[in-house]
């Protein structure tokens, strides 16, 4: 199963009352067909006008997933950074060249791939300052994010991150899990309904659904709902 651009665009157009249908058969046929200028009433809501708000809704969902550290769908947008030395600036793009979004995921040593644990800047800096004396012989795997830089106690680390690039082609499947279909339609309707003042109540309802969907995504970050964290979320 997959969500297709066509189906979501048709759902959006339908909720906006834009699908042509003077009788049930014609309405059904136009709704089931790929959206085109001949299947809509226009000119307020035509298929190409739905594409941009749909892309915006996809972007917001992906950002929401990428900003939720334990969300299982982060893997869909997975990428890694190159090797990062201590105090290196966190790159803007992953190895694939796509833009990094959201919060960092697993941080691991670039050599032995052991997990690095999030720690305080104080702990990381203390180790780096006294690694040859107070901490001689010890090997800590710690990191801390300091603004746009990562400080850590290894030679090099690799960050697992989420990346995202806006879709430019609006055919085929949308790279999201099926359960986002309703949310995508609501979010896109909410963005388009603002175009007509008579759609105020439609906007209110669609936006409420949309915000609830985003909240549901963020809830994956709640350890009571999705996995227990004892002390270190990224422990090996």
């Amino acid at each position: 199963m997959a969500i297709t651009f066509d189906r979501v665009i048709q759902q959006v157009l339908n909720r906006l009352g834009a699908v042509v249908g003077t009788n049930p058969a014609q309405a059904d046929s136009n709704y089931a067909a790929p959206p085109s200028t001949s299947t809509v009433t226009g000119p307020d809501f035509v298929p190409s006008q739905v594409q941009d708000p749909l892309a915006a809704s996809i972007g917001e969902i992906v950002e929401c997933i990428a900003s939720t550290p334990r969300h299982p769908e982060r893997q869909r947008f997975f990428d890694v950074t190159g090797s990062l030395a201590n105090q290196a600036a966190i790159p803007q793009v992953g190895n694939s060249g796509s833009r990094i979004i959201g919060v960092p995921g697993f941080v691991r040593d670039a050599s032995d791939s052991r997990a690095c644990l999030p720690a305080t800047l104080d702990a990381v800096r203390s180790y780096n300052r006294f690694s040859a004396s107070v901490y001689s012989g010890m090997s800590f795997y710690l990191y801390a994010i300091n603004g746009g830089r990562i400080e850590h106690t290894r030679t090099n680390v690799v960050m697992e991150v989420c990346v995202y690039t806006r879709p430019t082609i609006f055919t085929g499947n949308i790279a999201l899990d099926d359960w986002h279909e309703g949310g995508l339609a609501s979010g896109t309707v909410a963005k388009l309904a603002l175009k007509e003042s008579m759609f105020q109540s439609l906007y209110d309802a669609a936006n409420t659904e949309w915000q609830a969907h985003l909240t549901e995504i963020r809830n994956y970050g709640n350890p009571d709902l999705y996995g227990k964290v004892t002390a270190a979320p990224a422990s090996a």
């Binding site: 702990a123 180790y127 006294f130 002390a231 422990s235």
Partner: protein, 194 residues
């Protein structure tokens, strides 16, 4: 046992049975910073324990200078660990000092005792200024000018504080883990009470 294993054992011992949230895993680096203190605490206790003392005792071969005094004791290399700077000064009193002819030297605690007449049947040593001054047997001393040093190098058998966790014998590993837990949980103690 490596130092990483020591920290892990201490962390797990501190963590065991504690309700959530577990805070000790986040204190790894703090525990690590206390390892040297724990080694010192362990060696001090072992030095005073006649049953365990031998585990943290080693010989130091120390040359004598032209004035008959040893070189700086902090530069003496331990025969077991191969490290310098580990010797515990008072640990010499729990050990033994011998000259190159294998004569056992008797410790004198005060410089005034060292420079005044003593029975000549013994050789003597005195700790001062981070060195050991020696006084040969069979030589009557009525003033500092009469002192004749022993034949060097001298061999000092003394307690020491290991620099490396791997130099702690298996028999003492459990004690070291306990001392480390003690140091990190006690945090601050009056130096006089330590």
């Amino acid at each position: 046992m490596t130092v990483d294993e020591l920290i892990e054992r201490a962390k797990r011992r501190l963590n065991a049975g504690q309700p959530q949230p577990h805070v000790w895993p986040d204190s790894e680096i703090d525990i690590g910073a206390c390892v040297t203190d724990a080694l010192r605490q362990l060696s001090e206790r072992v030095m005073r324990d006649s049953e365990l003392r031998a585990w943290l005792q080693q010989d130091y071969a120390v040359n004598l200078g032209a004035n008959g005094e040893s070189t700086d004791l902090l530069t003496a290399t331990g025969s077991v660990t191969g490290q310098v700077g580990e010797i515990i000064l008072e640990g010499m009193d729990f050990g033994l000092v011998r000259d190159a002819e294998n004569n056992v030297l008797v410790p004198l605690m005060h410089y005034a005792d060292f420079v005044r007449p003593q029975p000549t049947v013994y050789g003597y040593y005195l700790k001062k200024n981070r060195v050991v001054a020696t006084r040969a047997k069979g030589v009557a001393v009525n003033s500092p000018a009469d002192i004749l040093s022993v034949l060097g190098p001298i061999t000092i058998t003394a307690s020491f504080t290991p620099k490396n966790v791997s130099d702690v014998p298996l028999d003492l590993e459990d004690d070291l883990v306990g001392d480390l837990c003690d140091v990190v949980t006690r945090k601050i103690v009056n130096a006089d009470a330590a």
